[in-house]
Amino acid sequence: MLNVGLIGLGKMGLSHFAIVNTHPAVKLVGVCDSTSYLCGILHKYTGIEVFSNYREMLDKKSLDAVIIATPSRFHGEMVREALNRGLHVFCEKPFCLDVYDGLDLAELAERKGVVNQVGYHYRFVGAFNAAKRLLDAHALGRLHHVRVEAYGPVVLRPKGATWRSKGSEGGGCLYDYACHAIDIVNYLVGRPDAVSGTVLNRIFSRDVDDEVYATMHFTDGMTGMIAANWSDDSLRRMSTQVTLWGTNGRMVVDRQEVKTFIRAAAGSAVAAKEGWDIRHTTDFHSDVWYYLRGEEYSAQLDYFFQCIVEGRRENISSFESAAQTDCVVSAMLQNAGEAWRQVDSGARSPTLSPNGSGGFLSAVMGR
């Protein structure tokens, strides 16, 4: 039995609570949140031991692993503390607001030899993995463009009092929706080397972006576009779609479907058939021991626990890979402040720059 503690009882924290609590190989031995009424209710109705200070929980309980589901600005400190105690750590996304913090923690986790994972659950969605298998087998030939879009209803009014409305705490569409979009691109085709043309717009929020657009540039000349908007209530929940174009055809993938179009002339040995082919979630869903909102939420935690039990070091969604996603986010943040090219309306005019700074492209820092 693995003894696990949980820090943070927001939406993801409660979801993890239910999933971990039912896992046959795990015992949830303590939860921690600063909201005392919530802890009070949970203790009363479930009997779980509750803490208002996470260090106290780490001191008092004998833990194998900890799940951290607090706002991102707390991640650095909490993850470091857990790693220094030799615990395996599952941390919610986005990993760290400070890129260097994230890269340091990835290194520390490596040194400590503990399992480390970040909650990018799209990496555990059957459809995205089916797409990855096809891409890894070069079913689309040489890829030349990828487009990722994430839309959904989070901020729909000019109001908001939670941490999500504060950029300094990891709020904003870039840290919320766009992170998932960037991470799934990193997973499917690798991390971009540079970004350009980043737009961070406010629609309803006062302090953070509600929509994100950017161009991505990859090593081999492939380009990409990202579009994320969390103020779109034409969808009932977040919906993310990746479209890829290669010399052999096109692929459109979301949580539920993989649609491929393979060119007749391509003669692909990997793709099932020429023209359009559609596979649904029922074709690649895998059973989980407990279902809440989607198989992927259970699958990612099960994978984390399995890695611990089997002493596996590599991870599908490691601190390192999440830190690389943070690097792209950071590049976009910097790029958003960089130069624009004014539309020449006949009269000669210089480059327009929102803050007077130089280039058009921001390199993505990372390893």
Partner: protein
């Protein structure tokens, strides 16, 4: 309970197979008359139960039915509460406390709870739960609601966390206040049955995915089949077509072969699909 229940996923852009299909449906059913027409087709074919989420738009359907009591004299609603995205979005936007305040009609219950802090009293929590149920039920005022379901997101969250008393609180309030039978929707049926038994809810109505593919049947299809055949509860099968992954005849034949399934709920976007599915259920239910 009726044998055949008409579901509402198709009306609200919910399709487990395809976001494109979901959007096309959401566009089509943006016109409330489209929903009413389809509901009429189901009703006129002899399906007299509408099993529906407590989505804001259902309130419009309820108003329509209240206006035409003779037309819908046999129509019953099986409300499924809550419409979870409403709460989830509010929690994201406002935080847990502020979201709760917004959904609670009376300010008192919440302030008592917050004041209480860690030593919060059970009766406060239970009072609040009852207020939330009442708020969801408001739209069904004056209509027949003989069975009231707890949605799977909530059932499975509570079940997973081990807040077992919540099922008892829900069941008691639904019985006392609405003279209705409590029902529970779940993706984790075998586990839920254990807990309902433990808290003394006898012969419960439990709605779960039951399909030939074993799609989203946590614990596995064999365990489900065994539970259906051997445990004392009233199973309602949903997702019998696995969002279209199984051909209808095969799908219905499988579900009807599980003799102890009491009801089958299905959604459809066309009159012909309603009639075909209903005919298949009747054909295999007789055999």
């Amino acid at each position: 309970m009726d044998r055949i229940l008409f579901g509402d996923n198709q009306f609200f852009g919910i399709n487990h197979m395809s976001e494109e299909k979901a959007r096309a449906q959401a566009i089509r059913f943006a016109d409330i008359q489209e929903i009413i027409d389809l509901l009429d087709a189901a009703y006129d074919s002899g399906i007299h139960v509408f099993m529906c989420t407590t989505h804001d738009r259902i309130a419009e359907i309820c108003a329509h039915v209240r206006l035409h009591p003779e037309r819908y004299s046999k129509l019953e609603f099986y409300p499924c509460m809550p419409y979870a995205h409403k709460y989830a979005n509010a929690v994201t936007e406002h935080g847990t406390m502020e979201a709760l305040k917004r959904f609670l009609p009376a300010e008192g219950a919440l302030s008592a709870l917050v004041r209480g802090g860690v030593s919060v009293a059970r009766r406060d929590v239970e009072g609040m739960a009852r207020l939330l149920i009442d708020a969801e039920m408001k739209m069904f005022n004056g209509l027949k609601t003989p069975v009231i379901f707890l949605q799977n997101v909530v059932t499975d969250l509570l079940l997973g966390m081990g807040i077992k008393d919540a099922f008892r609180i829900f069941a008691d309030h639904v019985r006392d206040r609405y003279k209705a039978e409590p029902g529970f929707i779940t993706m984790n049926m075998p586990r839920l049955l254990d807990v309902l038994e433990e808290v003394g809810i006898e012969n419960p109505i439990v709605c779960a995915n039951i399909n030939k593919l074993g799609f989203r049947m946590c614990g596995g299809i064999e365990l489900y089949e065994k539970a259906i055949a051997s445990r004392k509860f009233r199973p309602v099968a949903m997702s019998v077509l696995a969002s279209g992954a199984i051909n209808p005849r095969e799908a219905i034949e499988y579900v009807c072969r599980q003799k102890d399934i009491k009801s089958i709920v299905f959604g459809a976007s066309s009159k012909s699909n309603i009639l075909n599915t209903k005919r298949l259920i009747e054909e295999y239910s007789v055999a």
